[in-house]
C-alpha cells in the first residue's frame, strides 16, 4: 500500500524504510524517520526506545500525528495475527505490485509465507 500510495501521488519513496532504514523512511514521507522509529520501537516492545520515539514524534509532528500513528501501529499488531491464526493466503499472488514488493523486501523469508504457497 505504501508503494501504491506513492505511485498515485507521484512521490518518490524508498521502500527500505519499511525495513528500518531511517534515511530511506524520510524519502518522500513527512516525518518519515520519526514515524518509522516510533513504529519500530513499539513493535519490538522496546519500552525505553518507545518512550524516546514517542516524545520525538510528539515534539516534531504534534499530538494528533502521534495519536493517529498509535492507532495504525496498534491496528497492525492485530492484522498479522488475523492472517496467521486463520491461515489465509495472500489474495492475489500474481499482482505485479505485490510481487515486486515481496522481492524487494524478501518477504518469502517469513514463516507465514507457507500459507500462500500451499496447494489448494
Amino acid at each position: 500500500m505504501l508503494r501504491v500510495s506513492a505511485q498515485v501521488t507521484e512521490t518518490e519513496i524508498d521502500l527500505q524504510g519499511v525495513s528500518g532504514d531511517a534515511l530511506a523512511a524520510a524519502v518522500g514521507v513527512q516525518y518519515g524517520a520519526e514515524l518509522m522509529q516510533f513504529a519500530e520501537s513499539f513493535a519490538l516492545r522496546d519500552e525505553e526506545a518507545l518512550s524516546v520515539a514517542r516524545k520525538t514524534l510528539l515534539d516534531t509532528a504534534g499530538a494528533s500525528v502521534l495519536v493517529d500513528a498509535a492507532g495504525v501501529a496498534a491496528n497492525f499488531q492485530r492484522m498479522v495475527r488475523i492472517a496467521d491464526s486463520m491461515g489465509i493466503p495472500v489474495d492475489d499472488m500474481a499482482s505485479e505490485v505485490s510481487q515486486s514488493v515481496r522481492r524487494e523486501l524478501e518477504l518469502t523469508r517469513f514463516e507465514s509465507a507457507k500459507n500462500s504457497f500451499v496447494s489448494p
Binding site: L44, L58, V65, D68, L105
Partner: protein, 246 residues
C-alpha cells in the same frame, strides 16, 4: 459512554477511537456464538497474561513450538486448550498450523469457538496496544453480562481457505449482508464463521486505521492527521517486524 474517557491522556484522542473501543467493551461482556460473557472476558484476561508469560517467551525461542513442555501464566478460568490458543495467537502466531487448529477440535476447541476466541484476542490486543503506544494505563475489563452462547454459524460458511470455515466472496447475504459488498478480501472473510467478529474487526479498523471507503483514498484520508504514505509506513514497519507475509 462509561469507558475509554482517556481523561489520563496528555493527548486528545479522536472521538471515533474512544467510541469504537467503548462499543467493543460492551460487545465483549455479552455472550457470543460460542462463549459466555464471562468466558469472553477470561479470553481478554489471557491476552494480557500472554504478554508476560514466561513459558510463551521460552517457547518462542524453541525450534518447534509443538513439543515444548511447560505451563502458561494463566488465570485458570479457561480450558488448557483455550489458554494455549490465546497465548499462541498473541505471542507466536507465525508458527500456527492447520494441523494444530484441527488437533484442537479433538481437545474440545471447535473451529467456531476458535474463530470467536481469535477475534476477541486480536481486538483486545489492538485496543491495549493503542494504550501502550501512547504510554497510557490499560482500561479495566467490563463485568460479564448473563446469557448463553447460541452456537450460530452462517449456513454458507465453508472450508477451503485457510484453517477454518469462512463465507465465500459472494456469501455476505441474508443476516450477513452487512459484512461486505460484492467482493471481499481473505483478511475480511477470515472471521466470517463468527459474523460479529467481522463486525468488531471492521469497527476497530475504521477508527484505528481506515474504513473500507477510506482505503481507496491514497492521498490524505478524511479525519486523519497523517496522509496515506505516512499511514502505510507505520503499518509496514510494524508488519515487517511481525513477519507478516500477508
Amino acid at each position: 459512554m462509561d469507558n475509554f474517557q482517556y481523561s489520563d491522556s496528555p493527548y486528545a484522542v479522536r472521538a471515533d477511537i474512544s467510541a469504537a473501543h467503548d462499543k467493543f467493551w460492551q460487545n465483549l461482556a455479552r455472550p457470543g456464538n460460542w462463549w459466555t460473557g464471562a468466558e469472553r472476558i477470561a479470553i481478554a484476561k489471557e491476552v494480557r497474561n500472554a504478554l508476560d508469560c514466561e513459558y510463551c517467551a521460552n517457547r518462542k525461542q524453541a525450534l518447534s513450538p509443538y513439543n515444548f513442555a511447560g505451563e502458561h501464566n494463566h488465570d485458570g478460568d479457561l480450558s488448557d486448550v483455550a489458554v494455549d490458543a490465546v497465548h499462541r495467537i498473541i505471542t507466536d502466531q507465525t508458527r500456527i498450523t492447520g494441523a494444530w487448529v484441527d488437533g484442537n477440535v479433538e481437545k474440545g476447541l471447535s473451529k467456531g469457538a476458535y474463530v470467536e476466541l481469535a477475534g476477541l484476542a486480536v481486538a483486545m490486543l489492538s485496543i491495549d496496544e493503542f494504550h501502550r503506544a501512547l504510554g497510557l494505563a490499560l482500561e479495566p475489563l467490563p463485568l460479564p453480562l448473563p446469557g448463553e452462547p447460541d452456537g450460530y454459524m452462517p449456513a454458507l460458511a465453508q472450508e477451503g481457505t485457510g484453517f477454518v470455515p469462512m463465507l465465500p466472496d459472494n456469501g455476505a447475504v441474508g443476516d450477513e449482508a452487512d459484512l461486505w459488498g460484492d467482493r471481499s478480501a481473505n483478511v475480511v472473510r477470515a472471521f466470517s464463521a463468527v459474523p460479529n467478529a467481522v463486525r468488531d474487526w471492521i469497527m476497530i479498523s475504521n477508527a484505528q486505521y481506515l474504513s473500507f471507503e477510506g482505503m481507496s483514498d491514497f492521498g490524505s484520508p478524511a479525519n486523519r492527521s497523517i496522509n496515506r504514505m505516512q499511514i502505510e509506513l507505520v503499518a509496514g514497519r510494524v508488519s515487517s517486524i511481525n513477519e507478516c507475509f500477508y
